[in-house]
């Protein structure tokens, strides 16, 4: 039987560091910052234009809080997607100071708030309105790599067995939340909209390296296409952009290697 939890009972009482004690005021410092946001109203504008907004924010605030403050208190027409607000749903990928990030995971204190903060929609997908893009081409590529387990043989009555080591091989790529930060940070994707893009390859990786899966060759064939993994020029933008810390470029390299070794076999 596995026993992976800690066995020692934690102490009933410990000494805490002094700063966790009581007393004192809890004033959170506030500061002013200016946002320059790329606005686009499809019903009236020919192309996007910049608008500036100044807001007073607090030390613990994220870019999403600032966008909400602008929408809720200044201009209700500002449009952007968001849902969970803590980096797990993948709705609010956007270009913040020229880098793809999730607005809900980007703390203002980590940006230089003495300068204007720019926010625009992610690049490479058709712009719909303000910070909203059409995600359909992105999900289309994802669907093409057959992102589901393709097992072989008869279905067992209990679970399929998988060793901890086999499970660990594809752990990193299971973290993907399909936010498109990686794919829309890729210069190849910007110039060639047919390229599958990093997110699709990450999700192919998640199955190709799953010991329970038998559809790897089919996916590799898809990715061996002219618009497949070979378009990747290893610029590492995708790895930098991933809000989940997935080693995207490494995963793409592993898929490339699998293509070479498996096609030689």
């Amino acid at each position: 039987m596995a026993d992976t939890t800690q066995t020692a009972e934690p102490a009933s009482k410990v000494d805490l560091p002094a700063h966790l004690g009581g007393g004192g005021g809890g004033e959170i410092p506030s500061f002013d910052c200016t946002f320059r946001i790329a606005r686009f109203d499809p019903e009236n504008d020919q192309e996007p234009h910049w608008e500036e907004y100044s807001v007073t924010m607090y030390g613990t605030d994220r870019v999403l809080d600032a966008l909400h403050k602008i929408k809720w208190d200044i201009d209700g027409s500002l449009s952007f997607r968001r849902s969970c607000a803590h980096g797990v749903c993948g709705s609010d990928a956007m270009r913040i100071n020229g880098r793809n990030r999730l607005a809900c995971k980007t703390l203002l204190k980590d940006l230089d708030t003495s300068k204007v903060i720019t926010v625009e929609a992610i690049k490479g997908l058709p712009l719909e309105k303000d910070l909203i893009v059409d995600m359909e081409p992105f999900f289309q590529s994802y669907r093409e790599i057959m992102p589901f387990l393709i097992p072989s043989g008869n279905e067992p009555t209990r679970e399929r067995l998988q060793s901890q080591a086999d499970r660990a091989i594809f752990d990193d790529t299971t973290k993907c939340i399909l936010c498109a930060s990686c794919t829309t940070s890729c210069p190849v994707y910007w110039t060639d909209g047919q390229y599958f893009g990093p997110a699709s390859i990450v999700n192919a990786h998640r199955f190709i390296f799953d010991s329970r899966d038998d559809g790897g060759d089919m996916r590799l064939e898809v990715l061996n296409d002219r618009e497949g993994v070979w378009r990747c020029r290893t610029t590492f933008n995708c790895t930098d952009a991933c809000p989940r810390g997935i080693q995207v470029t490494k995963a793409i390299a592993e898929v490339k290697r699998a293509l070479l070794t498996r096609s030689l076999a």
Binding site: A11, G76, H86, C89, E128, F139, P147, S163, F170
Partner: protein
């Protein structure tokens, strides 16, 4: 306006909706309508695990799981439903594994299991390892796996289609659904979806509170739509406050942190849960832990400059163990509070988490029109529904189980019903209610702002209808809500466009929030006892004699309840099979 026709229409694409879609999509022509992209659904934020008595790591069986669920819900659970859930939990987990879910594994390669609050061996003797998990992103993996399998089966999604009305009709004197009316966010167009069966799987309504683990999108639309069409809502007063939200932010830190050995401490460094639940301590059910934490703060033993939170201490755990089992939540602590959980305890306080109540259903996921009659062709599953497996307090992990077990049942039942049912005629002007609502709001130019009303609503709910409640505080909340509903009539929005008018979307959502907050508060005032997640300081004891029953709230123009016109409250008996109510001690 466009009119579409399907056998089955599923509203919502979180865990319950997609689990239903996988079944229904293989049996009947099915459409899934969802306000947000399926992979954005809040199922993905669930962390810790999904319980099933697999007995992979220690002795366990589904009867113990049933008992824990009943006791955890403070005996307000319908025991037939809890039994179905605990029994089918095993297949639900195995189904997911077969669909590809990457569970953590034991050294033998089986699905690993860990401890969770309120889940015990042999009727409360000690914590048991029952939660199957994938690190601390189990919900994420469930959502991804279900979406992947929807792709596999070619399920038809209508993404960013916001359902705003349920079309009801009468066939041979029986009320039943004829479809739904939906607003397409991208275009502003109205779509009618005719259907033989309709499944509601629209999630919860946590945004009635300010401090919450819920997504911005969880505004109670599904329960609101049903309620406005005369369908009762069950047990709405029972709302779960999860003990460990990041202090000040409400972001969830999984109970798995305590399942893996973390403990709560007050300002004296004391592991205070030893006093409140001597046997299972920090792994007591959430209502008890949340109340204990709030009590520590009230009695002056809170931490920090304002003494308004307690601490989740993981510092005695090995960093490698934390990295392996709790990577995401420790990252949340680092990102949002700048706290390093390896070496520092994490500030936490209860956060509004889960509505136990919802649209009443039976174990077949059929929606009830009243205490006994089903509405043919209408189904509900997940947090939207109240079946009731959670009673007055849900056990951790049982929501992921609920969506899988009853989502699957709803999908099968809806498709089966559609096989023989005749497509109901569409009543005249089915869309007019939605068209009027949308046009009124789109052109609204009153002085009141959506955000102000919502903020005021959330603040009064946090202050007055939270972990501790009294008649006085709740009457205050009710007065505030009534005033806010008046202000809502004078709301103005700024976006006049048709495409992606999210200003308008928020105005519509606010209407649901106000309505649901009122239902929650009236039902809470009406229940003059304390049970599970509903704790009344003016009635601190459980009162089985008078209140061992479910609350059913109806929208009824001819009635008045607790001084609020337009509402009728009734009671519905609890189903008791094998466990007689006992005192709840841990």
């Amino acid at each position: 306006m466009q009119v579409h026709e399907y056998d089955v229409v599923i509203v919502g694409a979180g865990g319950a909706g997609m689990r239903a879609a996988i079944e229904s999509g293989q049996r009947a022509r099915t459409a899934v309508l969802t306000k947000i992209y399926p992979t954005r659904s809040h199922t993905g934020a669930a962390q810790g695990g999904m319980c099933a008595a697999l007995a992979n790591v220690e002795e366990d069986n589904w009867e113990w799981h049933t008992f824990d669920t009943v006791k955890g819900g403070d005996y307000l659970v319908d025991q037939d439903a809890a039994e179905v859930m605990a029994k089918e939990a095993i297949d639900a987990v195995l189904d997911l594994e077969k669909m590809g879910l990457p569970f953590n594994r034991t050294p033998e390669g089986k699905i690993d299991q860990r401890r969770f609050g309120g889940h015990t061996r042999d009727h409360g003797k000690s914590p048991v390892r029952r939660a199957c998990y994938a690190a601390d992103r189990t919900g994420h993996m469930i959502l991804q796996t279900l979406y992947q399998n929807c792709v596999k089966h070619g399920v038809e999604f209508y993404n960013e289609f916001y359902v705003l009305d349920l079309i009801m009709t009468e066939v041979d004197g029986v009320r039943q659904p004829a479809g739904v009316v939906s607003y397409e966010l991208a275009t502003g167009e109205i779509h009618i979806f005719r259907a033989k069966s309709v499944v509601f799987a629209t999630g919860g309504f946590g945004k009635i509170f300010k401090t919450t683990s819920n997504a911005h999108t969880l505004t109670g639309d599904g329960v609101g739509v049903a309620y406005r069409r005369g369908i009762p809502l069950e047990d709405m007063e029972f709302f779960q406050f999860h003990p460990t939200g990041l202090a000040g932010l409400g972001i969830l830190l999984s109970e798995a942190a305590r399942g893996e050995g973390g403990v709560l401490r007050n300002v004296d460094g004391e592991r205070f849960m030893e006093r409140y639940a001597p046997t299972i301590k920090d792994l007591a059910p959430r209502d008890i832990v949340a109340r204990s934490m709030a009590n520590e703060v009230r009695e002056g033993r809170g931490c920090g400059p304002n003494k308004d939170y307690v601490l989740l201490d993981l510092t005695h755990l090995e960093p490698s163990h934390i990295d392996e089992k709790l990577p995401d939540i420790t990252e949340f602590a680092r990102t949002y509070l700048g706290v390093e959980p390896y070496t520092e305890p994490v500030p936490v306080f209860p956060t509004a988490h889960y509505g136990m109540g919802g649209i009443p259903t039976n174990v077949e996921s059929e929606v009830l029109a009243n205490n006994t009659d089903v509405i043919p062709g209408l189904y509900a599953a997940g947090e939207t529904a109240c079946v009731s497996v959670h009673g007055s307090n849900r056990l951790g992990t049982n929501s992921l189980l609920d969506i899988n077990v009853f989502g699957k049942r709803a999908g099968i039942a809806a498709a089966k019903y559609a096989e023989t049912a005749v497509m109901p005629e569409l009543p005249e002007d089915s869309e007019s209610f939605v068209v009027d609502m949308i046009e009124t709001l789109r052109t609204s130019d009153g002085p009141e702002r959506i955000a102000d009303i919502r903020r005021d609503l959330q603040e009064t709910m946090d202050a007055n209808v939270q972990v501790f409640r009294t008649d006085e505080t709740m009457r205050q909340a009710l007065n505030d809500i009534e005033a806010l509903r008046e202000r809502y009539k004078n709301v103005g929005i700024q976006d006049r466009g048709k495409r992606f008018n999210l200003d308008l979307l928020e105005a519509v959502e606010l209407g649901f929030l106000l309505e649901i907050a009122e239902v929650v508060t009236v039902a809470a005032i009406h229940r003059k006892e304390s049970r599970g997640g509903h704790f009344r300081e003016d009635f601190p004891d459980r009162d089985d004699e008078n209140f061992m029953q479910h609350t059913m709230t109806y929208k009824d123009e001819d009635a008045t309840s607790e001084g609020i016109p337009g509402m009728r409250l009734e009671w519905k008996p609890v189903v008791i099979t094998r466990y007689q109510p006992m005192e709840r001690k841990y």
